[in-house]
Structure formats: structure tokens, C-alpha cells
């Protein structure tokens, strides 16, 4: 029996993007993050290159 769900480990920008894409395809996603909030390192950044837009 193949399960329909996907596990994403890590809730940084990569994990969030993967989870959102999967959810949009209608797939049930479980996300595991070791810290109290998702966002990863990007949340700690002020603005990002190459556009100098604000991070999260």
C-alpha cells in the first residue's frame, strides 16, 4: 500500500516552498520543524539579494 502523504523535514524557505507546492497538488503534507517557528535562516535576514526586497 502506497501512502498518499509526504513528510517535509525542515521549515526553512526550501521546506516551505516544497510543502506549498505539494499542498497545491492536493497532497497531504506533514512538516517537522525543530524550532518553535518556521522560516529558517531567511527569517533572520533583513533584506535579500539580488532585489533587496524584505525577507520573510
Amino acid at each position: 500500500m502506497v501512502s498518499n502523504d509526504v513528510l517535509v523535514i525542515g521549515g526553512g524557505i526550501a521546506g516551505i516552498q516544497a510543502a506549498l507546492d505539494l499542498a497545491e497538488m492536493g497532497i497531504q503534507v506533514h512538516m517537522v520543524e525543530r524550532l518553535p517557528s518556521i522560516g529558517g535562516k531567511m527569517a533572520q535576514l533583513d533584506k535579500t539579494f539580488p532585489t533587496n526586497d524584505c525577507a520573510i
Binding site: 516552498q17 497532497i27 533583513d46
Partner: protein, 432 residues
């Protein structure tokens, strides 16, 4: 994650859900608890540059928007003392000191690893003085200094000044305490302290223990007052950091630590120098690099724009040493490849562009999932199928695979999602 069984198509995974000691369904994120919590903890999110409380939200915009108790720091949970302040102020009744870790069991068809990276700890490079010199910071710490929601509200205050501020605050508290004690004694004896101190110093105070204590207290007070005055004086003459240096390849491209290039740090130094200049047009930056790697769409233009518009000077060479002068300014020693001489230059603040290293816990995860790691400790992938780990059904994206910037991490994440979907989607169709 604690346990994994099964194989591609059906992995049985056990995950430990850590107790928050706050009921997620009840907490409204109002923050009343943190306001009243008496316990201060160094704030990891702000890269140690500020403080937070024992009950906290990892960062203001953090998702989920609920608070968590740091059990080791909390008086009630970790220190065995009576506190319970947060439970008293919480109107939602969300605080639950009895909450326990729970185990969640999942059955999943595929796994996407996105565990990211850690910042290299530069204190292992003694010549850069990271743990000795206050005004040498990492690029991540500098991001927090630049941030409007950071510990300095975006002002480029130097860490030495932040430390001074804290010292002044403490001295002020101590000063008040001493002043109170001394003035009580003055009232009690109806004499000014100066008289007692004079008698004490000339040896004419006699045997009285009480008076001796008073004299010593009064002496302490005047010494502390002197220190306080000089600190506030120093504080008043301190100015924000304006002359910045960025040092590239700290822990990268260095055979002692990591041979690889961390790929994004050249660009984030240019970015940080540009943003600092946006905050204050008087800021000038020198970026010390072996070569500045601007490989990516629009990156070369970005670098040149920074040089022209943001007062950035690119200096070719590897910095040999950082020392500190009496005014706590870092001094950079390097060989100028232009004049072929060893030169030194003083800056207000030095920012270290630290390497991207495997995230803590990577090897534990690899063991649990039975995955191979590459020679640098990141998850090993197939060169021709860069999202595949050594095990079918387990994919990796972002910095868990190796250093890469955000656009690349996002592109990989979408690809990894698609690969995972290939495995579970047929099952989905069959079901429904």
C-alpha cells in the same frame, strides 16, 4: 524525528512533538505573558545581540503565532522555583505546565529533506579574534543589526556600545543601591560621609566596625560614581559604525576548515554594505576577498551598482589578522596585492562572511534514514539527479544539499516536491 521504518511508498515515521507548555489552540499570541515573565534569556534569533523572556515567540512574525516556554530557563519548569506568573496573566488560560512531549506516528510515501545549514563558528580562527573583539561580528549578526525589528531597531550601533549600555544600566542600579545605604547611614549618624572617609583614611576612626563599614561603602560609592561618569561620557561621544570592513571566505576555501566555496556570501556582503549605506549615506565599506564571486542572474550588475552607488571598495587579498586598538576599533592587517606590502587599516566594525556548514543533527538524520553524506557532511546526492539522496523516496533540497542561495533553494524545493508527488500521486488517483 525518532524512528523510521518501511521503504519508498510507505515509510512509517515516529516524530516527537515537543511540549510548548502553551496550548496552541487557546493561545492568541497577545504577548501579555512575555511582558510579565521575570526571566531574561539571551535571544538566539537576534544572534545573541539581545535578550528575550523565558516564555517567548521565536520572532515577532513567527508562524505559528503562539508562544512557547523555554523549559530550561523557566523558573517554574526548569529551576524548580515557584513562579506561575504567565499562567496568572494569561486571559485565555493557555498556559499548561503539565504538557508533555508526545509522539506522532505518520505513514508517508515520500520524504523531502530541507534541513538547511548552520553558520560556521568563526571563533575557531584565532587570528580573527571573533570571541575577543567586540566589534567583529558575523554576517548573520550584522543582518540583525540592520533589521528594523532587530536589537538596535536598524541603527548601526556597535556591539561595544551595546555592551557599554548594559554596563551603564547595571552600574546605575548598583549606584542607586549604594546611595540609599550611604544616605541612611548619614541620616542615622547625622554626619556627611566625607568626614568619615577622611577619618578612615587618616586612621582616626577607632575600633567601630559600623563606622568602618560606612567608610568602605562610601569609598565604593565614589569609585563606582567615577566609573559611571566615565562610561556615560564614553557613551555620549560614541558614534554609529560608518567605516565597515567585510571579510570573505571565513571558514570557506580554507583547507583548515572547508575546501568548498559557500557560494552566497560574496553576494550577501555586497547586499549588507548596500543596505548599510541606504541607512546612512556616510557609510563606506571595504570588502576583502580573494575574488568576488557574483555568479547568477543580475549578480555582476548588482556588484557593480554597489561599488558605484554604495561606497564599496573591493580589496583583493586574504586578511591575515584582526587586532583591536584602545578605542575598541578593529584593525585589519593584510597584504596589499597592489603595493606588495603588508598594510593595516582601522575600521569601526568588521563583518565576517562565515561559511555554510551542515546543519546540526544532519548525521543523526542520516543514520535514522539510512542515508549517505558527502565529503563535506551534507546529504549526498546523485550528480545527474541532484535531488535524489542515496535512498529511493527520499529527496533533498536547499542548503541541506550544500551551500546555495534562496532562488536556487526555492527552485530545488519545487523540483523535490514534484519528485515526491510522482511517488504519492498515483496512489492518490487510485484512492479517489
Amino acid at each position: 524525528m525518532e524512528q523510521v521504518a518501511g521503504d519508498v511508498g510507505s515509510f512509517q515515521v515516529k516524530v516527537r512533538k515537543k511540549a510548548r507548555y502553551v496550548n496552541e489552540n487557546l493561545c492568541t499570541g497577545c504577548g501579555a505573558c512575555a511582558e510579565k515573565c521575570p526571566t531574561m534569556v539571551v535571544d538566539v534569533f537576534n544572534a545573541g545581540l539581545g535578550n528575550r523572556k523565558a516564555i517567548y515567540k521565536y520572532f515577532p512574525q513567527g508562524i505559528p503565532s503562539v508562544f512557547t516556554i523555554d523549559a530550561t530557563a523557566c523558573r517554574q519548569l526548569g529551576q524548580g522555583k515557584k513562579c506561575g506568573v504567565c499562567a496568572k496573566v494569561c486571559q485565555a488560560g493557555a498556559i499548561d505546565y503539565e504538557q508533555k512531549d508526545t509522539t506522532v506516528e505518520l505513514d508517508v510515501g515520500a520524504v523531502v529533506l530541507a534541513t538547511g545549514y548552520e553558520v560556521f563558528d568563526p571563533s575557531v580562527i584565532p587570528e580573527y579574534g571573533y570571541d575577543r573583539i567586540a566589534n567583529v561580528v558575523t554576517a548573520l549578526e550584522f543582518e540583525r543589526l540592520l533589521s528594523a525589528s532587530g536589537p538596535t531597531a536598524g541603527h548601526l550601533d556597535r556591539p561595544s556600545e551595546l555592551a557599554l549600555e548594559r554596563e551603564i544600566e547595571e552600574a546605575q542600579k548598583e549606584l542607586k543601591k549604594l546611595q540609599r545605604q550611604v544616605s541612611q547611614l548619614e541620616e542615622k549618624h547625622g554626619k556627611p560621609s566625607s568626614e568619615i572617609v577622611r577619618q578612615f583614611q587618616s586612621g582616626g576612626l577607632g575600633e567601630s566596625e559600623d563606622l568602618r563599614k560606612w567608610a568602605l561603602l562610601a569609598q565604593d560609592l565614589s569609585a563606582l560614581d567615577g566609573r559611571f561618569q566615565s562610561m556615560t561620557h564614553r557613551k555620549a561621544s560614541a558614534s554609529a559604525a560608518r567605516k565597515l570592513a567585510f571579510i570573505q571566505c571565513v571558514g570557506s576555501r580554507d583547507f583548515r576548515f572547508n575546501r568548498f566555496c559557500s557560494s552566497y556570501c560574496c553576494m550577501h556582503s555586497v547586499k549588507e554594505a548596500m543596505i548599510a549605506h541606504e541607512h546612512d549615506n556616510g557609510v563606506s565599506s571595504s570588502i576583502f576577498c580573494m575574488d568576488l564571486r557574483a555568479v547568477g542572474r543580475g549578480f555582476e550588475e548588482y556588484k557593480l551598482r554597489g561599488g558605484k552607488q554604495a561606497n564599496i571598495r573591493y580589496v583583493r587579498g586574504r586578511v591575515a589578522e584582526i587586532t583591536e586598538d584602545e578605542a575598541q576599533n578593529p584593525v585589519i592587517w593584510y597584504e596589499s596585492t597592489v603595493s606588495r606590502q603588508v598594510v593595516h587599516e582601522t575600521f569601526d566594525l568588521v563583518v565576517l562572511a562565515t561559511a555554510c556548514v551542515p546543519s546540526a543533527g544532519t548525521s543523526d538524520l542520516a543514520r535514522l534514514l539510512r542515508l549517505e553524506l558527502d565529503e563535506n557532511g551534507f546529504f549526498k546526492t546523485d550528480p545527474l539527479a541532484p535531488l535524489n539522496t542515496s535512498r529511493p523516496g527520499v529527496f533533498v533540497c536547499g542548503c541541506a544539499q550544500g551551500p546555495m542561495d534562496i532562488p536556487e533553494s526555492v527552485a530545488q524545493a519545487s523540483s523535490a516536491a514534484a519528485r515526491a508527488a510522482e511517488i504519492v500521486a498515483p496512489a492518490r488517483q487510485a484512492v479517489g
